[in-house]
């Protein structure tokens, strides 16, 4: 490890020791003790959610004032001016401490939109938002997907029309995480329907408190509401809140999405990961008298081998990044595997539980798994469907040709859409 990293590590530990306590050794798992919830999505009651959000903001502010809020960011916007490797090192050390989960701020806002504003924002926007975001004051959401633009994001229809030095936005966004907590949203809008679909999009930063912005919770199949629909009706956005060139929004979006893959693939801890530990699953098998069932044991081994192989892939990617090697396809592979492992685990547990996962007997650690089971279909869709991820791997990594017949040259308004009669 180079000297400056050693010194940085020392500073990070000093900071964390002063402001947080080390995570207690996880008590040995005992069947029937503690919380049996196995949740992928949050879905806390509102007062709990409010409390967690406040704690997350406070912790981000503490990080920021001590120089760990934006480690790789430029100093003129409150960053530390260090490298992504320093960022990785800090994250590794911080995970040893008990600190509030800052995901609501960091996954989308600080992880994806911050870097986008830095790369494509105008000076005034960078000045006013970047320090505020990394200080924990401003939360950002991503206004990308639409009912008619899922995997094919570039076919989005939300319109932005220039009027008197501003833009007027009209349309509907969907699957927007953290919109209910956000002060700003990054919106992709159609600004030239006569251009080919990728060349008529512009990106904007929308003040979420503007008149005409309507955030409505979207109830997902698992019962909770972790996402929103956002309706934009005559929303006025000043031109200095435009990101990138007019009709150059696709490039801006790619900056954001590049950072998304890095963020999603690195999930690997938390309550769900704990639920998939060998000790937890073998305790479940003992409790259900399936302990010595050869078929169940075989399924367990297959499941655990997949989980551990994915962990090894992540460990290797982490080491390579630390050594300054450009990341390979590990992140995309890890994302696919994460979805596959969790899905497989939920179904494995359901087979072990049998009828106890279709009706609640009140027994600890049984029906509680239904929550994870009902969340797993999302994992193969969010952040890029499995099918799109495989296309990307095949085309970018293996060099296979693109699907023919995808029209990237005709004007957007001439492209066929769902529900249109020919």
């Amino acid at each position: 490890m180079p000297d400056d990293l050693q010194e940085f590590t020392r500073q990070a530990r000093e900071f964390l020791d002063a402001h947080a306590s080390r995570a207690a050794e996880r008590a040995a798992f005992r069947w029937g003790e503690g919380d049996d919830r196995v949740a992928y999505f949050g879905a806390d009651p509102p007062e709990v959610e409010e409390r967690k959000l406040r704690a997350a903001r406070d912790w981000q502010r503490t990080r920021y004032t001590s120089g760990f809020g934006w480690i790789s960011g430029p100093p003129e916007y409150g960053g530390r001016g260090l490298t992504p490797v320093h960022e990785l090192v800090y994250d590794g050390i911080e995970s040893e401490y008990d600190i509030p989960d800052t995901g609501t701020l960091s996954v989308i806002g600080l992880g994806m939109i911050g870097p986008t504003i830095l790369a494509h924002g105008q000076q005034s926007v960078r000045d006013s938002y970047l320090p505020a975001m990394y200080r924990g004051d401003v939360i950002a959401c991503q206004l990308f997907s639409e009912p008619e633009a899922g995997s094919d994001l570039a076919s989005l229809q939300t319109r932005a029309v220039a009027r008197e030095g501003s833009w007027i936005l009209d349309g509907q966004k969907v699957w927007t995480s953290v919109a209910q907590h956000s002060q700003i949203g990054m919106a992709l809008c159609r600004t030239d329907p006569d251009a080919p679909k990728h060349r008529g999009i512009t990106a904007f930063l929308v003040d979420m408190s503007s008149p005409g912005v309507d955030v409505r919770p979207l109830r997902q199949m698992s019962g909770g509401s972790d996402f929103n629909e956002v309706f934009l009706t005559g929303v006025r956005v000043p031109d200095d809140h435009r990101l990138g060139e007019v009709n150059g929004g696709w490039r801006v979006a790619l900056t954001t999405l590049m950072n998304e893959r890095a963020a999603v693939g690195s999930e690997g801890s938390g309550p769900v990961a704990e639920a998939l530990s060998p000790e937890r699953l073998s305790a479940l098998m003992r409790a259900t008298w399936t302990w010595d069932d050869r078929a169940v044991r075989r399924d367990l081994s297959e499941l655990l081998a997949g989980v551990m192989a994915t962990a090894h892939l992540n460990a290797r990617a982490f080491r390579r990044m630390q050594a300054g090697v450009a990341p390979g396809p590990e992140m995309s592979v890890a994302k696919l595997m994460y979805a596959q492992n969790l899905t497989r685990a939920a179904h494995f547990v359901s087979h072990v539980l049998g009828p106890r996962i279709i009706a609640d007997t009140g027994e600890w650690g049984t029906y509680a798994w239904a929550e994870l089971l009902l969340a797993t279909p999302a994992l193969r869709i969010l952040g890029g469907t499995e099918e799109i991820m495989k296309n990307i791997l095949a085309e970018r990594v293996l060099g296979l040709p693109r699907e023919p017949g995808i029209d990237t040259t005709s004007p957007f308004r001439e492209l066929p859409r769902s529900g249109a009669t020919s």
Binding site: S282, S301, G306, A394, L398, L400
Partner: protein, 368 residues
């Protein structure tokens, strides 16, 4: 490629170049018929110093670890090299080292390191189990020393190895014994194998003089260690072979035209290749992590070894089968290399017992 360690890239490059010259498909097919080429074995030992790469310096080796050996084995697996390397440098050498018998190591390892001796490990019998508890071959102490009686099967390179390390049972339990190829009472017969690139033999022992290696009755623990290491070494070969199958498929999908376009433009083919890529990435990661953990002496090495064995076995079998599917009719011909990989993949998957035992091995290493 390798966690930013340039010396590993250099090693990989050197081995790859060597194998491209010495083990092209034509050589693999020739060796499948006539056995391995001793000249290539000799060059591997002398020019590249591969036989002693992972052996300690005081036994004539270069003192590197499993991490370096892993790189070499990936390339050998990719090239389908026909060689007693796995049997000699992995199975036999690791069994000697695991025995902690310094006299035996000093006697046998320098010859292995110098490439003068090929060796193998004879553990399994007709029931194909590598579990020392299942061993029936007997070791008997006589006034002139130990003699072995019984039969060993599935012995890699068993018909050609100069030195045989044999697991046999004495009154103290299963132990490890060394036997020279020319020993009286020993008969070796080649087996017909699914994979012609990896010869196996049946060895019959009729009161064959042998030397005890390590302590009497200690082969149980020793074999646990050797199997963990052998699984990781095999995993490296499997990862290399799977990567080569993926490269063949992707290359073919880019250039083979049907319906007026490269077949790789069809999503059905594209996704098949992406699935292979996912498995290959996982295979490499598990094989390399397990090797790293072995070198660090990490307590979770046995779990990592079992994980690598399962992951790489599945990846290679999957990639070898899908490679034939991507190639279509041409992939099913004798002339095409695809079947050689399919044969190697299946034979590697099942060599140490296959799914019937490897899943219980993982759960055992996890303490479940």
């Amino acid at each position: 490629m390798n966690d930013g360690r340039e010396e590993l890239d250099d090693l990989r490059e050197a081995v790859r170049e060597f194998l491209a010259a010495k083990s092209p498909e034509s050589a693999v097919r020739a060796a499948s018929q006539a056995g391995y080429d001793p000249a290539v074995w000799d060059q591997m030992a002398r020019q590249l110093r591969l036989s002693g790469l992972a052996l300690p310096g005081h036994y004539g080796g270069d003192g590197f670890g499993l991490t370096e050996l892993e790189v070499v084995l990936e390339e050998m697996g990719a090239a389908l090299l026909c060689s007693p390397f796995f049997a000699t440098a992995v199975l036999a050498a690791q069994a000697l080292l695991a025995s902690a018998d310094e006299a035996a190591c000093a006697r046998y390892l320098p010859g292995i390191a110098a490439g003068q001796v090929t060796a193998t490990l004879a553990a399994a019998e007709a029931n194909a189990s590598w579990d020392p508890a299942m061993v029936t071959a007997r070791a008997e102490r006589t006034p002139d020393g130990w003699v072995l009686t019984g039969k060993k099967s599935f012995v890699l390179d068993g018909a050609t190895a100069d030195l045989l390390l044999v697991v046999a049972r004495s009154t103290a339990g299963p132990g490890l014994f060394a036997v020279d190829r020319g020993a009286p009472g020993l008969r070796a017969e080649p087996m017909t194998t699914l994979d012609p690139t990896r010869p196996m033999a049946v060895l019959t022992f009729d009161r064959v003089p042998a030397v005890l290696v390590g302590a009497e009755g200690q082969a149980g623990r020793l074999m646990t260690r050797v199997l963990d290491l052998a699984c990781v070494a095999l995993a490296a070969e499997q990862a290399g072979g799977a990567r080569r199958c993926l490269e063949m498929s992707a290359g073919y999908a880019r250039t083979r035209y049907q319906f007026g376009r490269p077949i790789g433009a069809f999503q059905a083919v594209k996704h098949k290749c992406a699935d292979m890529l996912v498995r290959v990435e996982l295979a490499e990661a598990t094989a390399r992590e397990a090797a790293r953990l072995a070198d660090e002496g990490a307590p979770d090495f046995p779990v990592a070894a079992a994980t690598a064995h399962i992951t790489c076995s599945q990846a290679y079998t999957f990639a070898a089968a899908e490679n034939i599917q991507v190639h279509g009719g041409i992939g099913f011909t004798w002339e095409h290399t695809a079947h050689l990989y399919f044969r190697r993949a299946k034979s590697s998957e099942l060599l140490f017992g296959g799914p019937a035992v490897c899943h219980e091995r993982l759960l055992d290493r996890l303490g479940i």
